[in-house]
């Protein structure tokens, strides 16, 4: 854990406020007509929030064990294989 307890508390509350603000932002962004980019904006905000939670609330940032980080990267890589290969199939077929 951090050597300065009060500084980590400040960090937690800062992340919490940012996450709440991002939730408001994503609802607001959905009300705008961005064409194809609505989905991209929504997913970018969601991914930003997920990264904040993983790095600071799940303490991936500053974790001493490289193995945990390897597990996270490997999991996301396999998820990417699942999504990318499936979609490369569906996206190149005629939808019926």
């Amino acid at each position: 854990m951090s050597a300065h307890p009060s500084s980590s508390l400040k960090l937690y509350f800062g992340i919490w406020i940012t996450l709440l603000a991002c939730t408001g932002l994503t609802v607001w962004a959905a009300s705008l007509d961005l064409g194809r980019f609505n989905a991209a904006v929504a997913l970018t905000i969601a991914t930003f929030k997920a990264i904040l939670v993983a790095l600071f609330f799940m303490h991936l940032k500053g974790a001493s064990e490289k193995l945990s980080k390897l597990v996270v990267v490997a999991s996301l890589f396999f998820l990417l294989i699942l999504l990318a290969l499936s979609m490369s199939d569906y996206a190149t077929r005629t939808w019926t």
Binding site: A54, L67, V72
Partner: protein
């Protein structure tokens, strides 16, 4: 050797097959992360299904998504984010030996988790009333496709949306129920004073699980509620 035996004798939480508390904690952490990795793939299959059908039936799904209550969905997102804060505060309290703060935050997490399930229950009830539950009584007639005032959504395509809505949010709610079970157990253990700055791994691992379930919802909210909202 005598040194490590001494430590083992003085630390009842250290299991005999671990050399030292740090090794025991790191093993638990690695195991939890591997479990969360399997959970990513578990939910990943559903997200993949979602992507395939959303691509194919975008208009019908936009119409179906518009019937969900954004206010309730956003409130639930905020509730889960607040619960993630209380969880991280609980972990901090356990690591710095603040027992009352630990118990308070564990209880706050339980309250927020239950509130989430309550709001979800209200939403599910509304789906039953509107006949938006997939099955024999499903109805989705005369609903316009957003941006196409002359086109009605195909009810069977909308039904696939609601099927995935119930499976994904239902599976997520099941994870919340399991999480609440874990946190009740953590609260009892904290009440008995089992957690110290030297030994608090269960709080930390329970917290990892809770944050993961929060992350799943962070994706479910925009994907299900905000498909095609703009006027």
């Amino acid at each position: 050797m005598p040194d490590s035996q001494l430590t083992a004798a003085h630390n009842p939480a250290l299991l005999h097959h671990f050399a030292e508390p740090q090794q025991q904690r790191d093993a638990a952490s690695l195991g939890t992360w591997v479990f969360l990795g399997t959970e990513i793939m578990f939910f990943g299959g559903l997200f993949c299904t979602y992507l395939v059908y959303r691509r194919g039936y975008f208009g019908d799904w936009g119409a179906a998504s518009k019937t969900l209550d954004v206010t309730l969905g956003a409130t639930n997102t905020a509730v889960l984010i607040c619960s993630s804060l209380t969880v991280v505060l609980a972990v901090w309290a356990a690591q710095t030996g603040r027992r009352r703060l630990l118990i308070g935050n564990l209880l706050a997490t339980l309250v927020l988790g239950t509130a989430f399930l309550g709001i979800k229950g209200i939403e599910y009830k509304e789906k039953f009333e509107k006949h938006h539950v997939p099955g024999a009584s499903f109805q989705f007639n005369n609903v316009m496709i957003p941006g196409h005032p002359d086109q009605y959504a195909n009810p069977s395509h909308a039904e696939i949306f609601f099927a995935l809505y119930f499976v994904m949010t239902g599976l997520h709610a099941l994870h919340m129920i399991v999480g609440i079970g874990i946190f009740i157990w953590l609260t009892v253990m904290a009440w008995k004073g089992r957690f110290t700055p030297e030994y608090n791994t269960p709080v930390e691992m329970g917290g990892l699980y809770w944050h993961f379930v929060d992350i799943i919802w962070i994706y479910l909210f925009p994907l299900l509620y905000l498909i095609d909202r703009h006027p």
